[in-house]
């Protein structure tokens, strides 16, 4: 009998997306010293800026695919929206590289 892949439960997928996005937000908060109350101005470094922006990009992708239901839309729309977020995050990363250095 041929193996038929089971469609994942949509509720489970949404909960998984939420857990991933929340977890990534908490990681971002720690890497950006969100718990420090002393008004930290020290640079977090270009690598951390890159990581933060990559996390942002990944979170946006999850939101676009699962919450905004672009997973079921045409590939053109998926690529278009992802490209828009990619341009914004790349612009921020490039700005910090220019202003603060690598």
């Amino acid at each position: 009998m041929p193996h038929v892949p089971q469609k994942p439960n949509p509720i489970f997928r949404l909960l998984l997306t939420w857990a991933l996005m929340s977890g990534l937000t908490i990681i971002s908060m720690f890497s950006g010293d969100a718990l420090e109350t002393g008004g930290v101005t020290a640079s977090i470094g270009f690598a951390s800026v890159g990581i933060l922006m990559t996390i942002t990009l990944f979170k946006c992708r999850l939101l676009l695919l699962d919450f905004l239901e672009l997973r079921h839309a045409s590939p053109g729309w998926r690529r278009g929206f992802f490209l828009a977020v990619l341009i914004i995050t790349a612009m921020i990363t490039a700005t910090y590289a220019l202003a603060i250095g690598f």
Binding site: A34, T41, F67, L68
Partner: protein, 227 residues
């Protein structure tokens, strides 16, 4: 042609002819409309909204979502230009923000987004009461976001910080204020679709709410964390 005199014998014949001509004209119009409808049905691949029809919800909402992304993208481009001009000012101003409240607000919006998505799933099964329940929870998290935002703004106001303090705060208040206005508008839409809960209305409102969520996901690290 002049109509005959009202008192003449030909006047009734004239009225009868006019009524017949009017009926014929209506028939022609209906026939023409049916022809257009039949033509539209004969071409199922072609629709009024083109590629926008493949997106969930009302296509007009997607026009709005794309426009909003462009507006916030341009505001962020302005932020980048000003940041390069005076990084010290931006870093010192950013340090005065509460990164914790910004982070909590991100978690609040992500959770509200989850309940909006669950409302959308419930509406697929025509479960009206469950859909309304999820929408109410979504709105409650939206309100919590606004409460935290109000606390943050009042905290800054107590320190004498306003939109005119410097260019960082001008852009900060513009972007976060405009975003908060979208949250308020989103709450109104959620309330509306709880009453008029057709499948398309729920999808449309949820798409708007997720767009608001998406923009905050970008604003939080840029305004609060990255330095």
């Amino acid at each position: 042609m002049q109509p005959p005199d009202k008192d003449s014998d030909f006047y009734e014949i004239y009225l009868l002819e006019m009524a017949t001509a009017s009926q014929q004209s209506n028939k022609d119009q209906i026939s023409s409309e049916n022809h257009i409808q039949a033509k539209a049905e004969a071409l199922p691949g072609q629709s009024a909204w083109g590629p926008l029809d493949t997106l969930p919800g009302n296509p007009m909402m997607w026009v709005l979502i794309i426009s909003e992304l462009m507006v916030f993208g341009l505001l962020l481009a302005g932020y980048c230009v000003k940041f390069i001009g005076d990084p010290e000012l931006f870093l010192n101003s950013q340090a005065q923000l509460s990164r914790l409240i910004g982070g909590l607000n991100t978690l609040v919006l992500i959770t509200s987004g989850l309940f909006a998505a669950l409302a959308n799933e419930a509406s697929k099964e025509n479960n009206v009461s469950l859909t309304r329940g999820y929408l109410a929870i979504t709105a409650a998290f939206g309100l919590l976001f606004l409460v935290l935002k109000f606390y943050e703004y009042s905290d800054k106001a107590a320190l004498g910080i306003s939109i005119e303090t410097n260019s960082f705060y001008t852009l900060f208040y513009l972007m976060t204020g405009f975003h908060a206005a979208h949250v308020i508008f989103g709450l109104l839409i959620l309330g509306l679709v709880s009453c008029y809960n057709s499948r398309e209305n729920i999808q449309t409102a949820c798409a708007f709410w997720h767009m608001v969520d998406l923009i905050w996901l970008i604003l939080y690290p840029v305004l609060y964390l990255v330095r």
